[in-house]
Every structure is written in structure tokens, then in C-alpha cells.
Symmetry: C2
Subunit: 132 residues, 2 copies
DNA sequence: ACGTCTGTTATACTTATAATATAACAGATA
DNA sequence: TATCTGTTATATTATAAGTATAACAGACGT
């Protein structure tokens, strides 16, 4: 598997899994309908517990990014990803506010901050492409 | 005091304090040299423990946003705020990546994401102004 | 000098979360 | 029948968050 976990990080393992899977979908390394490794095999690959993987899958399933077929295991949501709802707008605004505040205090301009945001977005969504 | 704490939130109280104080500096509600309430009085005002406030102050002192004079208590850093160093760039990139990934998956465009970033920054830095 | 405020440190306790360790169950597959 | 899947349950350990007291040294005003 292409995932990497930092056991020394202060951010919980299941959160790292959730973030990396969402980034995988954003970069189209994971496409709608793609199968994901079973909770047991992924846990074994990463050297962590089954339940830690399961917790990440549950969160992504709850948010509508994954589906479970009881047949071929877990699959990336095939029928359209969830859109930009009020809950996400609030989550986004809260996260951006914290980052923007420290950026402003440290002397980073609004233009720089917006440019950095765009740069990160672009780098993320063009990760799986080789030819230009 | 103008601070508000959500005891039901999943984000730690001391983190809420750190974030709000940085936002206060960014919005110029807190200016360099301004005195901050003592750990005991602020804890009493918010109905929380002395050590929780102290932990927030320690973090901000460590990062160079606050100063302690052993005289008039804690004060907003008077001699210039810390700039944009490598550590902050890494922290910013990591935070933006998580937000940008989910935004992209949910169908928000790069332009929208950048615009939202700029909007949050602007709203934050123009909070203490009334006349235009 | 005295009392009071300041930040700071130390200790102990409770609570909640993260993570692990087993175990078992029901459905699907070969 | 085996073996895989997700799911659920229970128990345990480890760590972080928050609280509760207590004490100390420096600075201040009286």
C-alpha cells in the first residue's frame, strides 16, 4: 500500500488515515469505485490494529466518501461525492481562520496567503499526473 | 474578558485559548505591549483551572507571541512579532493540504478555495475597525 | 515589615480518548 | 466446508486533558 503513518506524530493514526485517503481521492490516485484494502490487511501492512483502520473507514463512510458492499469490501464512493454543505463550510472557515490568523500575525499578506492556498490546492490535485 | 470557551468542543480548552489570542493579535484587538489578564483571574472568569490558562500562555510565550516581565504579568510581544519561518511554512502547508483535499473532493474549485482563504483572512484582519 | 499580587513549579487525581488485544458473529465466496 | 469480508463486543494499557492543592520567589503598595 502507498500509505505512510507516523507513529510519533501527535495527530491520531486514524486521523492520518482519513486525511491521506481524502488526499488520495483528491489527487485521483483513488477513483470512484476503486477497492480499498480490507481492514485486516491494511492494519497488517501498517503494523497497527484492525480497529484503528476500521475507525477511519467508519468516518469516511459516515461522510459519504466510502461505501461498503458486504461483498467486495470497502470501495471509493462510485455515485458522486458529497458536495459543499453548510457543515463543511463551517469546518473550512474554522480551519482557515486559525491558519490565517497566525499568518497575518507573522506578517504574511492576504495575497500571499491566498496564493499559498491556491498553490497547495493545485499541487494536490495534480499529483497523479506525469505528462503536461 | 472578551474570550469565549466552548467546554463541549472536541478541541482542547488551551488550544481554543491559543487560537483566540492569536486571532486577537491579528485583528489588532490586542496590540504589542498590551497587558493580558493573570492566569488566575482569566481562569476564574472562564470558570476553568489556572493551569489550563498557563499552558496556553506558555505555548504563546514559546512561540514568541507573548512576553513575561515578572513585573506586570503577561504582555503581548512589544518588540516585533516572529516572522514566517520554515516551521510555520510547514505547519501552514500541512493544514491547508487537509482542507484543500476535502474541498477538492467536494467539488470546490481552486479559485473558490483561494477566494475563501482571502475572505477569511480579510474578515479577520478588519475585525477591530468600525469606520470605512 | 507586612500582605498581596505576579508567574512558576510540583504533586496527585480524575476523566476522556487513542490504541491494542482477543473473541465472536453473519454474510459472501470459492 | 473453509476462508474471506465488515461488524460488534469486551477488556486492557497508555497518553493527554483538565482539575485540585500547595508551595515558592520576585515585585508591588501600604
Amino acid at each position: 500500500m502507498w500509505m505512510e503513518i507516523d507513529l510519533q506524530s501527535e495527530v491520531p493514526i486514524y486521523t492520518q488515515l482519513v486525511d491521506q485517503l481524502i488526499e488520495g481521492i483528491a489527487s485521483e490516485q483513488l477513483k470512484p469505485g476503486d477497492p480499498l484494502p480490507s481492514v485486516r490487511s491494511l492494519a497488517a501492512d501498517l503494523g497497527i490494529n484492525l480497529h484503528t483502520v476500521n475507525k477511519a473507514y467508519q468516518i469516511l463512510k459516515q461522510d459519504g466518501f466510502l461505501q461498503v458492499h458486504r461483498k467486495q469490501g470497502v470501495v471509493v464512493q462510485p455515485g458522486g461525492m458529497p458536495g459543499v454543505d453548510a457543515a463543511f463550510r463551517a469546518k473550512l472557515a474554522r480551519g482557515l481562520r486559525t491558519l490565517a490568523a497566525e499568518a497575518a500575525v507573522r506578517g504574511m499578506s492576504e495575497a500571499e496567503f491566498a496564493a499559498q492556498s491556491a498553490a497547495v490546492y493545485r499541487q494536490l490535485t495534480t499529483k497523479g499526473e506525469e505528462t503536461k
